[in-house]
């Protein structure tokens, strides 16, 4: 047979070429229809982790609390952080919660398509369920880590301010941004495998590029707008501190920039994901 010659191929006529067009609305609708699958996958990852680890759910608390202790003991010695009068452990923990959510989502979600490649090759489902369920798992972790926040409030005799009502708005931006990055990184990692080794380092750098241990005031005022566009977590974290600890409004201009940038990133990222998705089973 000469059918599998590889040099000069006859090939299909041009007008037959398969074009997969998925509108974002149709994709989102399909994802919504698969919400039970997202939940089941998240549950699977959670149960599996819980059964393997002695500490179980305790791990969700361990990472942010350990970092908070490290920051409190060391970071404050070398850099004089202006917390606006709030206790530093509370100040840094409020930054660590969204950061840990983000970094867990990306480190798990970024590899989610690779770790599930057996399934990708066998079962059809909208592929974004894998990174999205990683974000859900990170969300459950964060909910558990909130316990330590409550403990800190008690220890320092500190009561959250009334302006905390703005937290859901900030949370929405945080989730939007995190989901976009998880989608993009997961699809890119499948096509360019060596990125996976760079992910942990990028996340390490991200911890210092984000106002977790320090405040956003460290950034010169005229650069804060650009900073918020590039790193929407910055105005979000700053917003948590202002509303919960200081009884202020969030810096709405920066939050707006960060929010807009997150939404754009989600649209671009989702589109990119859907485009790369077509070739997933060929390369995974």
């Amino acid at each position: 047979m000469t059918a599998t010659r590889t040099d000069v191929e006859p090939g299909p006529p041009r007008e037959l070429l398969y074009r997969r067009r998925v509108g974002l609305v149709a994709a989102a609708r399909e994802l919504w229809a698969s919400r039970e699958l997202v939940w089941t996958l998240a549950e699977r990852d959670y149960l599996a982790r819980y059964k393997q680890a002695v500490l179980g759910f305790g791990w969700a608390l361990f990472t942010p609390v350990a970092l908070m202790v490290v920051f409190t003991v060391f970071f404050r010695r070398v850099a004089d952080v202006d917390t606006g009068g709030a206790p530093y452990p509370l100040f840094s923990y409020l930054g660590l919660l969204p950061w840990t959510f983000f970094s867990t989502s990306i480190s798990q979600g970024g590899l989610s398509l690779i770790t599930n490649k057996m399934l990708l090759n066998k079962v059809y489902c909208p592929r974004e369920v894998f990174p999205v369920s990683s974000v859900v798992v990170a969300g459950i972790d964060t909910a558990i880590a909130l316990l330590a926040l409550g403990a800190l409030f008690v220890i320092y005799g500190f009561v959250p301010r009334l302006t905390s009502v703005w937290v859901p708005v900030l949370l929405l931006i945080q989730v939007t941004f995190t989901t976009s990055v998880a989608l993009i990184s997961s699809a890119v990692v499948v096509h360019l495998r060596d990125i996976r080794h760079a992910l942990p380092i990028l996340l390490q750098l991200g911890l210092f590029a984000t106002p977790v241990a320090y405040g956003i005031d460290t950034i010169p005022a005229h650069l804060r707008g650009l900073y918020s566009v590039l790193n929407p977590l910055a105005p979000v974290i700053d917003g948590y501190r202002r509303t919960v600890l200081l009884g202020q409004q969030p810096a709405w201009d920066l939050v707006g920039l960060g929010g807009a940038s997150s939404v754009v990133l989600l649209l671009v990222g989702y589109r990119l994901f859907k485009r790369l998705e077509t070739g997933l089973a060929d390369v995974a």
Partner: protein, 409 residues
């Protein structure tokens, strides 16, 4: 709009990279450089202009040797893969019976896995709950349902996966070689279940090397050869052509060449006017052509069709340059009635000389195996000649007879 359960795949083309290099940044750079230099990346066609229209309720077998594009076509119908050109439309709920261990998580219990796997296959949790008892009963896992799946035997895992899929109630069912594993009694129930599903009007696309199972199940055949449709029509005709091709290619030697070539395989009893019988003699004769003089380990396996052998017979020998004839004589064949396949591999210290491949088949005349009791998985169909004695002493009226057998899980 297609009616539910219909398949329409028109002029489907699919290609893969011929170089199969890893997908990382370094390779992408190299590829980019090659493209800028005007060289085109080489592609191999897996499917060329394949058209398959199936009416609701019809049953189609995809026939063809390994690498002919059957699984690729099935993956495209499942929407796991996308075609390079052409259009694919499958309407209604699509259920795919896949290699099941992919969907199971070893750390979770059987119960949790049923939900996980059901949701993966597109059921709602409510629907899984409704079918849960049926699924567990079909898989015969009532006792093990809350045990972690990593403590299941491979047979139990297989049953669990298939049972979930068997209760999907899809409009279109795609089956890829699923029945090739598992014990005979479970295979039998799977086939029965598949016929039940067919009777309800489900459309079936079936890939299997088990031609007997195909004949018992399908009405229509599509024969693929190197990604091109060779024949399409009523099963009997297509199957006839395919069988002729198998015989012709078997006569011209092995289908896959390694460093050495399998010129001819003969599987027959030493007296050529006889047929293979249980506990009778059988000779496997291989004619191997080698381009060089080399020591080699030749290994003959007898399987039920899949790559996993029941019996492995190995021999160190020396292949001469040119042709070497090897005969392996089995004095007594421990197999029950049925069709079996001879697989062959040859290797030396550092290389595979001939890849593991099917080289021939034979039918054994003899007794059937005893049916295994519920919940006991028989791994390999080996027939052992036995006599039983029952010694009923007067003092103990019901002396138990010890049964020999292996049960797992």
């Amino acid at each position: 709009m297609l009616p539910e359960g219909a398949i329409s795949a028109r002029h489907v083309w699919k290609r893969f990279r011929a170089d199969r290099s890893k997908r990382d940044l370094r390779d992408s750079m190299r590829r980019l450089k090659a493209q800028l230099g005007g060289r085109r990346t080489p592609w191999t066609w897996a499917l060329q202009d394949v058209t398959l229209d199936v009416e609701p309720g019809d049953s189609v077998a995809l026939l063809g040797p390994n690498g002919s594009g059957k699984s690729t076509l099935l993956k495209i119908l499942t929407r796991v893969m996308y075609p390079y050109a052409g259009s694919v439309d499958v309407s209604g709920r699509v259920g795919a019976l896949i290699e099941v261990r992919a969907g199971l998580h070893p750390e979770l219990s059987g119960r949790e896995n049923v939900y996980l796997y059901g949701t993966l296959l597109g059921l709602r949790r409510r629907e899984v709950a409704k079918r849960f008892d049926d699924i567990i009963e079909f898989a015969e896992l009532q006792q093990a349902v809350d045990r972690q799946v990593k403590f299941y035997s491979s047979g139990m895992q297989m049953r669990l996966g298939f049972a979930v899929a068997a209760f999907l109630e899809p409009h279109v069912l795609l089956v890829d070689e699923i029945l090739a594993v598992g014990d005979a009694s479970f295979q039998h129930r799977c086939t029965e279940r598949m016929h039940e599903v067919l009777a309800q009007g489900t459309t079936l696309v079936f890939v299997s090397h088990d031609l007997a199972a195909v004949e018992a199940t399908c009405r229509r055949g599509l024969w693929l050869q190197n990604g091109v449709v060779q024949a399409d029509g009523p099963l009997a005709g297509v199957m006839g052509g395919y069988r002729e091709w198998i015989d012709a290619s078997a006569a011209s030697g092995g289908t896959m060449d390694g460093i050495v070539r399998l010129r001819r395989t003969t599987v027959a009893p030493p007296r050529r006017d006889e047929v293979p019988r249980s506990h009778g003699p059988l000779d496997v004769e291989l004619s191997i052509e080698s381009p060089e003089s080399t020591p080699a380990t030749v290994c003959v396996g007898i399987t039920e069709g899949t790559a996993a052998p029941i019996i492995l017979l190995e021999r160190q020998l020396h292949l001469a340059e040119g042709r070497t004839d090897v005969r392996c004589s089995i004095a007594s064949l421990p197999l029950p009635r049925g069709r079996f396949y001879v697989w062959v591999v040859a290797y030396d210290v550092k290389r595979t000389l001939l890849p593991w491949q099917p080289a021939g088949s034979f039918d054994v005349v003899g007794p059937d195996l005893d049916r295994s009791p519920h919940g006991i998985v028989q791994l390999a169909p080996v027939h052992v000649e036995t006599t039983w004695d029952e010694d009923r002493g007067d003092a103990i009226p019901s002396a138990p007879v010890r049964r020999l057998g292996s049960s797992r899980g």
